[in-house]
């Protein structure tokens, strides 16, 4: 007998919850982070889905229908363009405006905060961000009163409309497809917030050399905001599923000694803070994380999923198997340029190494942004294979 949508939903939810709590589910959960990739796949440009939310949701619907993964990745990397236009944001390059209509968002490495401003950031990070940085990041917010406040109100209104539409879609995905969300709400490591939104990559690389104490103090100052961001963006009481989405950026670029000094202390406090508040976490760790596994082994047990862009799975399983749910990730270069057989062989290898004993999901190395990040036939082949091969034998 065919399963009801509700049964399907509950089956998937227990599969995901078993994996994150380090138990063996019925089979390996499949969670692929299809972001702006959904546009081209469903016949739209990225510009289309940034402006027309019906197209955005139709694009995600099609991906859910065709791939039938265990959870839907909400479009957190897809910023609604009307909101961006209302505030005149200038730090992201937007499809159809600054880059091609088919391009993902792109982020120039242009700092909005100067190195001399660390004392201000440290003294009152919220005031500094609102009063100093927002006007630099968005031209309409730099205009004199009342135009700045009208622009902010307009942006907030548009954002509320977008969230309402998205919320309805979340419910429909559960009710029509039996598909839970993969993540909800997000935050970032304090140093990633400062690097991504304020100092830029190059700026932060130089700051940790020239003003290490200020960088560390700034991370501590920003930590409460990072925890607050997690809570407000979740939009409801904490739950063990869906987890918070936490992309990790700067970590992979740091020498382990610098990781320990600059990245780890406040990142660890962030994860402790949000898990103690009742949340779970879904980390997307960009880059090669082999050098940092021993740190991650100190995170709270059974509360965190970590997908690595690159990692030696055998080593990750040995070091983290008792602590984190590990995401076996098929590299985007392989999904985009490899053959179906190569992708399936990679998935098999990951499942063989990572899945035994549970605490494992299958995913892609990076959020899927543009068509070249994954050929649909490769994703389909991997999905079909893993749904059979990933079954745990009782």
């Amino acid at each position: 007998m065919e399963k009801s949508v509700e049964e399907l939903y509950n089956e998937r939810l227990s599969r995901l919850k078993a994996a994150i709590s380090l138990q063996e589910p019925d089979r390996v959960p499949l969670v692929f982070p299809a972001d702006t990739w959904v546009a081209h796949y469903s016949g739209f440009t990225i510009q289309d889905i940034l402006y027309d939310y019906e197209k955005l949701i139709a694009a995600i619907d099609k991906v859910i229908e065709d791939f039938d993964w265990d959870a839907v990745f909400p479009p957190f990397g897809i910023w609604p363009a009307p909101v961006l236009d209302a505030i005149g944001q200038r730090t992201m390059m937007v499809a159809g405006e600054d880059v091609a209509a088919s391009s993902s968002f792109q982020f120039p490495d242009a700092p909005t905060m100067q190195p001399e401003e660390y004392p201000e950031l440290i003294a009152d990070p919220y005031a500094f961000i609102v009063e100093k940085l927002l006007p630099k990041r968005a031209t309409e917010l730099a205009k004199p009163f009342p135009r700045n406040e009208l622009a902010l109100a307009k942006g907030a209104l548009y954002f509320g409309m977008y969230l309402a539409r998205l919320g309805a879609a979340f419910q429909r995905w559960a009710q029509v497809y039996g598909a839970p969300l993969a993540v909800l709400g997000f935050t970032k490591a304090p140093i990633d917030m400062i690097e991504d939104q304020m100092r830029g990559f190059r700026g932060m690389c130089v700051d940790i050399k020239r003003r290490p104490e200020q960088v560390k103090a700034a991370c501590e100052a920003v930590l409460p905001l990072a925890i607050r961001l997690a809570k407000t963006s979740y939009g409801g009481p904490p739950a063990d599923w869906p987890p918070l989405f936490i992309p990790l950026h700067l970590g992979e670029f740091l020498r382990p000694v610098d990781f320990e000094e600059f990245y780890w202390p406040t990142f660890r406090k962030l994860i402790q803070g949000v898990t103690e508040a009742g949340f779970t976490c879904f980390l997307y760790a960009e880059g090669n994380w082999d050098p940092y596994l021993d740190f991650l082994a100190q995170l709270p047990k059974g509360k965190v999923i970590a997908v690595f862009e690159y990692v030696t799975m055998k080593k990750a399983k040995a070091v983290l198997g008792d602590t984190l749910c590990i995401g076996g990730s098929i590299p985007n270069a392989l999904l985009g340029y490899g053959t179906e057989d190569e992708c399936v062989a990679c998935a098999k290898d990951l499942i063989d190494t990572g899945a035994p004993g549970g605490g494992f999901i299958l995913s892609a190395g990076k959020v899927l942004l543009v068509p070249n990040d994954a050929k649909p036939e490769n994703l389909l082949a991997v999905t079909k294979f893993a749904k059979e091969y990933g079954v745990y034998k009782k």
């Binding site: 050399k209 670029f253 020498r255 270069a333």
Partner: protein, 213 residues
């Protein structure tokens, strides 16, 4: 003077910025001759080569490369203008980020390190139209074209760029190297480049081998 040169070289390799600046100031205050200036510039470049070596040895990571290049550029900007004759260059490279991609952190490190290694670098910037690469190659006759890209969408425009260089009849006059986090052998073959690298330091070594023959 020799001791000071070695110290300067070592201070750059160790990324000891205060020491580099102190040594450079002392050196410049001594009213150096043209030959001394050339020796000091060479010493600084050697220091940066050592930074690259330590990066390859995984002793240094990307922030160290960026900081090294930053220190080097600062010192060079003080010494170079004092030279009466510009130093000889070992080769020419046309460099840019592929069309459609605006990421330039990696490309800029490569530019600074190529410059330190003695190359004349024509940096076309980011989101470089295919034709601009072709025009610059025709204008400057470089031995090497370097195309950088972070996003997979850059793969297509890297290929377009190499095809256009081919169509212009210039492909056999240049070596093409592509660089970026996502490039690998499959991407190299697809694009039609001669080599690929994920590492700025390795890229510079490849370029040096090409011009040294």
């Amino acid at each position: 003077m020799m001791v000071q040169m070695e110290e300067l070289s070592k201070a750059i390799a160790d990324l000891d910025e205060p020491k580099v600046l102190k040594l450079a100031e002392e050196f410049l205050a001594s009213e150096p001759s043209e030959a001394d200036l050339n020796r000091a510039i060479k010493a600084c470049q050697d220091g940066m080569v050592e930074v690259g070596n330590r990066y390859e040895a995984k002793e240094y990571f990307l922030p160290e490369l960026i900081f090294g290049a930053e220190i080097l550029r600062d010192v060079m900007s003080r010494m170079m203008p004092l030279l009466k004759v510009a130093p000889a260059r070992i080769g020419k490279v046309v460099l840019g980020t592929a069309h459609g991609d605006i990421h330039d952190i990696g490309k800029n490190i490569v530019r600074d390190m190529l410059d330190a290694a003695g190359f004349e670098v024509y940096d076309l910037g980011i989101d470089v139209p295919v034709q601009q690469f072709v025009d610059k190659v025709r204008e400057t006759s470089p031995q090497i074209v370097g195309i950088s890209g972070l996003l997979t969408l850059a793969t297509e425009t890297m290929k377009d760029t190499v095809d256009a260089i081919k169509d212009a009849g210039l492909r056999d006059r240049v070596k093409v190297i592509i660089g970026g986090n996502l490039v690998e052998e499959g991407v190299r073959a697809y694009v039609g480049a001669d080599r690929f690298t994920k590492s700025a330091a390795e890229g510079v070594e490849i370029c040096k081998k090409w011009v040294e023959g």
